[in-house]
């Protein structure tokens, strides 16, 4: 399975939860802490993100960056370690 991950700008996030609704992997949840605006912000709660970008597409505050593992090519050397 292709692996992905997200980085969420916690001070920009308003905790609307639309990314949580949109995630097919149920990878996202709300933080226990609050941010500078007073919102609980979205965080990764499971290590199963596929980098499908659904969460970023519905985020009204453009707070999400999505990363995805590069597709392995036949000529590539050994696979690098997954950084999460």
């Amino acid at each position: 399975m292709i692996r992905g991950t997200v980085v969420i700008a916690e001070d920009i996030c308003k905790g609307c939860e639309l990314c949580i609704e949109a995630c097919p992997q149920e990878s996202l949840g709300l933080s226990d802490k609050i941010n500078l605006k007073g919102y609980r912000y979205a965080v990764l709660v499971k290590d199963n993100c596929t980098g499908c970008v659904n969460c970023a597409l519905v985020c009204p505050d453009a707070a999400i960056i999505v990363y995805r593992q590069k597709k392995p090519t036949k000529t590539a050397g050994p696979q690098v370690e997954v950084p999460i």
Partner: protein
């Protein structure tokens, strides 16, 4: 936004377009305005027209759109955004010009401008955010408010007898000969966001062909005035707004060689 170094076999597949500024948007949590801004600016970035695009912001919640969109912007008086955009386009015909308005702005105080801009076939893109209420002023009834919908000025629900019928202004403008491309889209799911992006792209590309006004309605939400959570508002929108405001193209440009 700083992008953390995470290149270890990974690549960035989605980030905020640089056609949006770093100013945090003032919209309520979950408001569709933010998504609509971002999708429109993604298209501007992808088409490489940032320095040739001029937007006109309305009066309404999106009054500060000029702070968020990293392009040339002009503010217009309430209801007049499309008229101002027409003037800009006539003076600078090589620019991509759009107006961005809510339903109170475009379909109430600005009805006259809306109808006549499209009837004249002004070569602009009109973006119309339909959330069924006046959001900025506290959730009063808009022309687009559904029958039975409770707002601060229709506390028992909108009735035909006193408040008339909800106005499908997009269907109205689709009848006008000056309209080139008229479509109704949404912003509440990944699929609808992708479709909206295609619609914005098509509308800006048609502007090059000079075939008339392109009009993109976005059926959106207003969680604050609707007194719902963003997720509830988006569900309500699907169940109640879509039957009356069905998504899809209402007019496609005439085929030309």
């Amino acid at each position: 936004m700083d992008i953390p170094p995470l290149t270890n076999g990974y690549e960035i597949v989605y980030k905020k377009p640089q056609t949006l500024t770093d100013t945090p948007m003032h919209y309520c949590p979950g408001c569709g305005h933010g998504v609509a801004h971002r999708v429109l600016m993604e298209v501007v970035e992808e088409m490489g027209i940032q320095d040739r695009t001029i937007g006109v912001a309305p009066v309404g919640c999106s009054v500060f759109a000029y702070d968020y969109m990293n392009i040339d912007m002009q503010e217009a008086p309430h209801g007049r955004a499309s008229a101002v955009a027409s003037g800009i386009k006539r003076v600078l015909p090589d620019r991509y010009v759009f107006s961005y308005q809510g339903d109170g702005d475009l379909a109430a105080i600005g009805t006259g401008e809306t109808i006549h801009v499209v009837n004249r076939g002004e070569n602009i893109l009109m973006v119309f955010i339909n959330n069924g209420v006046y959001g900025m002023t506290g959730g009063q009834m808009a022309p687009t408010t559904l029958l039975g919908m409770k707002t601060t000025t229709t506390p028992y629900g909108r009735e035909v007898k006193t408040a008339g019928h909800p106005l499908r202004i997009t269907n109205l403008v689709a009848q006008l000969p000056g309209a080139c491309y008229v479509t109704r889209q949404a912003v509440h799911t990944p699929t609808t966001v992708r479709k909206l992006k295609k619609a914005f792209r098509a509308a800006l590309e048609y502007q090059q062909k000079q075939q008339g006004t392109c009009f993109v309605e976005v059926v959106s939400n207003c969680p604050s005035s609707w007194k719902m959570t963003p997720a509830e508002a988006n569900k309500w929108l699907e169940e109640n707004m879509f039957p009356f405001y069905p998504l899809g193209d209402l007019k496609l440009p005439a085929q030309s060689n």
